[in-house]
Symmetry: C3
Subunit: 677 residues, 3 copies
């Protein structure tokens, strides 16, 4: 558990380098990431290389007892390279070129660019293969950022045709799987398939979904090309990638080629971009579940402690608004990341940059080199982590405190995300917000959650929560049935079992292959605007529901009805059912519940599964377990208190947790109760 920083030695006069590195070490930092946009500095002209500045930086980092993380610089090829190979530029769906001028100006499927990528990666790998200060590598930078995951150029057209040939073998197989009989879309050859370019009417959803998969696979392939070169040069290096967008790229697939996943965490930015309405507290510190879902996803993706490769250090340049973060928030974010399973939290950037596109992005130091607010928080975080490691006892390899095995799996899947993005069927449906509704219900009860795809091994979990399991194959249905029969408690929600793996409706009524497991059919579904928000009676109490309603019909000797719509057109119609199957049971929620209803359903699920929980904490307070300790993080602007056992020992803070503060105790989570404010 340690703190790092992202450093751009190429941005500053070389004479400042040693003072900067010394100061990093003084601050308690252990890792320094470098080089991800420095291609033009590394190779100022075609074939002319200059690595001396980087050699020196690595060398100083080693001298001061830290380790370097290097990056391949492929996210920003120099202009001379683009001018030599203009075909590497991406194209929009309407044919417009995405020109040079920002970053990420290359197509993953350009053979020319793959060649250039190999060349520079090999050069770097070779140069640092024997350098003991270099701990490992980050490939490229934030694949897909700025909407660059999907490209519509001719190179992509060719690669897509190859990808389809590989997947379907015969074009008639594709015709059948996609269902091209609709609107005369039958294809006579793979050569007839283009990227889904601009059309007047909608594209075929099966074609779009395969294009989304192909696009993600293109990045996986491109990334693997780099990983292999780096591994070959030095197999003790770790290789990771810093994820940013969690939308267009399948993080599970990329992570399979990495030693661990890392991601770039900007709490006040994400929360503004990913939500409709944001509170002032969230503008100051972000939202713990908005953050936590990503922490848990990237931890689960590689089944390993993750890194926050870039941690917000203060005010930043890209969200609509950038209020100053709350006092201590930069420390809170680091400790909370560790609580959720991070090994290293690396602030971005060392020093505010005086030039270029990110001048309004703060650093640990201000532009004039004086410590900024983030610096003080980083020093505190480093010192706290040292202290906590000594209390908790670090792992054998010295790099990690263990996280507990999760009792609950939250199923999440990129195919589902993409398919639902293609057919959301209402402007108000958002896959991530639906998933987060259930994630929050678990986390407010202090449950430790793995975020895994439906293909994960489920047997180890006491309960499995599967929000909107949209695409379901017979195989998946069998897996889930076995899980429940074996005593698992499964929660499945609205819009599950709708489609097959090719984004076609199942022959059988929804939930398709899950019908016998769920013990009920979806008779009707409807999307509704806010003005039609409804009510569900569950367990004798009234709750709110919205966005999407399914009218459920239990099979004979099928599921038990546990919730019904109340007072609208669907008055009395089943909305929530539970079906006992083997030694377990499955609950199906056919609407989008308000947070209280999600909490009630999830609470009952956890009870049945025998998962230990706490009372529900308020939305801005989250309790985590790591290294045998209990971490209480307060993302609110006011203090909050917990009722803790009298003999609780506090490794950090105490039972009243200040604003944007963290307390750590040896008391068991289940022994803590939130005190009302």
């Amino acid at each position: 558990m340690s703190i790092g920083v992202c450093y751009f030695p190429e941005h500053w006069p070389e004479e400042r380098m040693e003072a900067d590195v010394e100061r990093m070490a003084d601050a308690g930092l252990e890792y320094v990431r470098m080089g991800e946009f420095a291609w033009a500095r590394m190779e100022p002209e075609p074939g002319t290389y200059d690595f001396e500045w980087l050699d020196r930086a690595v060398s100083l980092i080693g001298e001061y007892g830290m380790r370097a993380v290097l990056c391949t610089p492929t996210a920003s090829p120099p202009k001379w390279l683009v001018d030599e190979h203009p075909g590497i530029l991406q194209e929009e769906a309407d044919g417009t070129t995405r020109h040079y001028g920002g970053r990420r100006h290359y197509c993953y499927n350009s053979e020319e660019y793959r060649r250039e990528t190999r060349r520079i990666t090999e050069k770097l790998a070779e140069r640092y293969a024997d350098n003991p200060t270099v701990a490992g590598w980050q490939t490229d930078n934030e694949y897909g950022c700025h909407g660059t995951l999907r490209c519509y150029c001719d190179d992509c057209a060719g690669a897509f045709r190859d990808w389809l040939r590989e997947k379907y073998g015969d074009v008639d197989e594709l015709n059948e799987k996609w269902g091209t009989e609709f609107w005369s879309q039958t294809l006579n050859s793979f050569a007839q398939v283009d990227p889904p370019r601009h059309t007047a009417a909608d594209h075929h959803p099966s074609r779009l979904l395969d294009y989304d998969r192909f696009s993600s696979d293109s990045v996986v392939e491109y990334n693997r090309l780099q990983v292999e070169i780096l591994r070959e040069a030095n197999d003790e290096w770790f290789v990771t990638h810093n994820f940013m967008s969690h939308d267009d790229l399948d993080a599970y697939d990329v992570a399979a080629d990495l030693d661990f996943a890392s991601w770039d965490s900007y709490p006040t930015g994400h929360v503004q971009v990913q939500r409709e309405a944001v509170s002032n507290d969230e503008l100051r510190a972000g939202n713990p579940d908005n953050l936590g879902l990503d922490h848990d996803l990237y931890r689960s993706a590689a089944n390993a402690p993750f890194w926050v490769m870039e941690q917000q250090p203060g005010d930043i340049n890209w969200p609509p608004y950038s209020p100053q973060p709350g006092e201590g928030a930069m420390r809170l974010w680091a400790l909370y990341a560790v609580a959720r399973g991070a090994d290293v939290v690396s602030y971005f950037r060392w020093r505010r940059c005086r030039m270029g596109q990110e001048q309004y992005h703060s650093g640990l130091l201000d532009g004039d080199g004086t410590p900024d607010r983030g610096y003080r928080d980083a020093v505190d975080a480093a010192s706290d982590l040292d202290e906590l490691a000594s209390v908790a006892g670090d792992d054998a390899d010295g790099s990690s405190l263990s996280t507990p095995d999760a009792d609950v799996a939250l199923l999440h899947d990129y195919d589902n995300l993409w398919a639902l993005d293609i057919e959301p069927m209402t402007p108000d449906f958002d896959y991530w917000r639906h998933v987060e509704t259930y994630y929050a219900a678990l986390r407010e009860r202090s449950v430790h959650v793995d975020v895994v795809p439906p293909t994960a091994e489920l047997a180890e979990y006491d309960a499995v929560v599967a929000p909107t399991l949209y695409l379901v194959t017979d195989e998946l249905a069998e897996t889930l049935t076995s899980y429940v029969e074996g005593g698992g408690e499964l929660l499945v929600t609205m819009r599950s079992g709708v489609k097959d793996a090719y984004d076609k409706l199942h022959d059988a009524a929804q939930p398709g292959p899950l019908r016998s497991l769920v013990g009920a059919d979806v008779e009707q579904h409807e999307s509704v605007p806010d003005a039609m928000d409804g009510t569900v009676v569950y367990d004798g109490r009234e709750f709110g529901c919205r966005v999407w309603n399914e009218w459920l019909s239990p099979a004979e000797e099928g599921a038990e009805v546990t919730g019904r719509y109340d007072g609208t057109m669907a008055d009395g119609t089943p909305a929530i059912v539970r079906n006992a199957v083997g030694d377990g049971s499955v609950t199906y929620v056919g609407t989008w519940p308000d947070s209280d209803l999600a909490g009630a359903v999830v609470g009952d699920l956890l009870d049945r599964a025998g998962v230990e929980t706490t009372d529900a904490f308020p939305a801005h307070v989250r309790v985590s377990r790591r290294g045998g300790l209990t971490w209480i993080a307060n993302f609110g602007g006011d203090s909050m208190s917990v009722d803790a056992p009298a003999d609780a020992e506090w490794a950090l803070g105490g039972s009243t947790v200040g604003p944007y503060d963290v307390a750590v105790t040896d008391a068991d989570p289940a022994s803590l109760t939130p005190l009302s404010e």
Copy 2:
């Protein structure tokens, strides 16, 4: 009066075909429409045809006592055809190609595509010319849907130049009629004219209006090409087209080549797309005037009973929201269509499709083949219509109940729509909503209305309502003057008589050629935002007005002032005038009235014209007359009651009409009074 369905035999295994057809017959259906997107199935490879599947479907339909409506498949040419003739694709105004991938991917002016169209149409016409089961044809499908009515490609450029040559003969004539002296737009030859492609500043309105006319004419010409081939093959076939968009295509012009018009009616979709705010009742059942205006337009367009070629069967895929329709709404829509003059109402589609772009569109059967909510309503509608036909006595030819002659004409015109779209002059002006304001005022009084262009024969009508008669020629002014002098009652509203036929201002002040008829000038006009909503005093009462105010100035010995603005800058200025001319009179309303003011003005007009009316019904209840019967349709979610004569006989229901229900009585409309709820 009968019920039909749209069927896609090519989407299902052939072995299911007979069971499906049998079930249709059992449900009481009489017509089955097929084939409109099946080109790739009919001609899987260039020149290789396969019609056997369609032969068999037609044959089964005949065997089970029904009749087939076939379609030309030209709305979705196969990919092989597009690859052979990439020039058939349309272009956006900015030059972007509208690529293959959805539907309607062809330009009406492509000679290559017209050749291909002729080929497939002749092939089909020839094959089914002697088949007694085929009742007639639908050409193509929903011309102009997805914004494809206007194309900006080079083929269109050439065709537009020819169209202009034909219209103007000499380029100097065009220069004068358009008024190209403005901004140096004088042309030296027709070859200098391009489609109105992307510019920095606005285009010349006269050029835009002619491009709109040209675009509509291109479709008329393209459609006629198909009609002629079909008529030549079998002159007993009817030929129709299913209109969808009522915006870019002149339905009157297309209908002139058809036996009758049909249209695709999706009540909960249209109401969301065509209005700003929608009530929950409208989300469940649509709005009767939003629907009725189209029913009456398409009935009037061919002066013949129309078909609803596609009738919404339940939840649908394309509006923002798709709540489940109200209980019985699918039956309500069918009966209401018949009440407004439909002969056949054909549900779209037989069965929910498992693949492609419309998986979220319901059918009479669900995807698994079980009856859905629409099926039950369709069966009821078929049975009700049988019953009503027996009560009312069907027409001699067995196909139609007569609709009464309308007492009132509502003038509507595409040239006006397009010209006002080019120069709306405020974001709040919407031609259709303005027309609908007056349509609703007529229909809430149970008046039967024809929706016709200003060129229609008006003498037969007791009253004529002309909302925003924007383009007025001397000839039209004379027609209207003769109508009024002959005893007609004419209502003309704001923004009338503004422009000549070329979208140029008249020399004379507004209302231009209508000045002496109206007996007043428009001194000033203004557009106003909501914050400037105003008041008009009419007949001693205060009403609201909005969006557009004209300050009227009666001529000496001209019109009488009947309404004045009150309390704003224009306080006391005439807003509404009436002018007695010959044996009739003309009323001019110089602002956008609220519904009460529209009702008061229209009520007075009808009184003067001696048109029989009812008291005003609430907005969700409409009374129609057909086949000697009075049809009361309730689009609301609550029951409503009418006060009817004691001896009224009820052919359907009774004097209390349930939610989404219809009652039919022999009582005269004028004998009915809505009871307050």
Copy 3:
């Protein structure tokens, strides 16, 4: 001081010409502007000229005692010219051509178009060189209107490279000044630089800022080409240009080549386009500060009385809404323009045009040739100005009443505008609205203001107000320091001293080179949404602040804290400081103040500077001084009264000023007090 009109003789039959000109003279008009869109009439075919219609118009204007202002017709090249030289069309950043069809369809950097421009300008200059009726010229028309100031075509690419070569000499100099090390943007040659075309990520701000400067310079160069030809033909002609957009084009640079600046004033249009919320009064008459800022800018730009070349004559076609202007508003606008320093106010247009893009734009005459509301106001304005000139005594040259020397300079700069547009950092920051906040604070106290760039000579001003002086060089810092040391009172506001001349952050903390002058640093800045609106305590009173907060830190022995944030996260932190330097002092305001706080700070500044002020007038009333008279303009819909000395003489009106009216008195402004309404 006189009234003119814009006239299009080419739009009307030649037989009407004399009647029109006679009527202009009768109305008291003195100038007639013509010809700015008449290229196609002047040169109907390549090389064939027709100036007889224009000769005749000029001749008649002379006969009736008026003078003509002619225009080069280059804003709208004819279609034959575009077809001969299609390369003159501009391109969007995404490569889309801006086609022929509106106006301004040419690229300033097209050598072909410059050749054509020279040809037609020389032809015109030669023809009218000896014509005594022609007083002077307007070049082109509204450069940059419709977003045409910036073009992304290949001609511009080449010209941009030349411009950079000229500016930087060596590409390494450019690399250093821009800071291209960021994101591998280092350039090896000028040939590598393209216009900032469409990219996925943001462009480099330094590149964007130079492109903005280059684009403005391209117009300066293009305009100079015309000016030189005209000056050479007759050096007694004045040459001006009618500015419209005050955003993309540096008016100071263009004005340096002109005899005086003119601009096109549409009060009800500007106020809707440039503000978020508009009151009904503003919809009827505009806002006096929104107008006044432009009047003062264009007067200051050429340091000469300006013209309103186009004055709104009534309702107009281009804003969202066009309510009828308030009664007398067209006269109000003319008199207010004169009060702010206009010599000639020329209404646009003589007569509503029957054809083309501006049919919904009124004229002094209506389309039928009858006087419209604007005509009556224009006649009154002409007569009032005659009367006032006789009272005040006209200047020696008979053309101008002197305006007083301004006591206060408001610093304004296009580089700052552009740089802040590139990095606004919150959707709520608007440079012009921030400048106007301070302009209003000065003007509500009846202070006469020059609007000048920071490079202006400041010594003559008692106080200087510098809102958001974003880009600050050492040289500018020295200038401002000298000004303050010499006894000047300087007000600098938030976001000042942030960047160097190349849009790079300074090494030193903000306010960079202004630190020692201001005596404080900006410790932090933050952008905040409305929900975070805050409070500042200044002078013991609470005021509001919003959008942007800077946390100030006075240097030791530096500035005195005069305002502090209150009640938020920054509670108690300095928000406003004042620093005594030499004989003067500098105030720094680190947030966006509400109007009361701006007023309080500005009021204190004026007190210290000894500038004579009035009490604050309400926002719709403004007091100006010209020709030794005091002009009170009331932009409100209600009368307002002033308390004036008993012996005040009223040259126009009296101490109660009606709605949309103006009163003029010999009393000193400082002797007037607004009476509460």
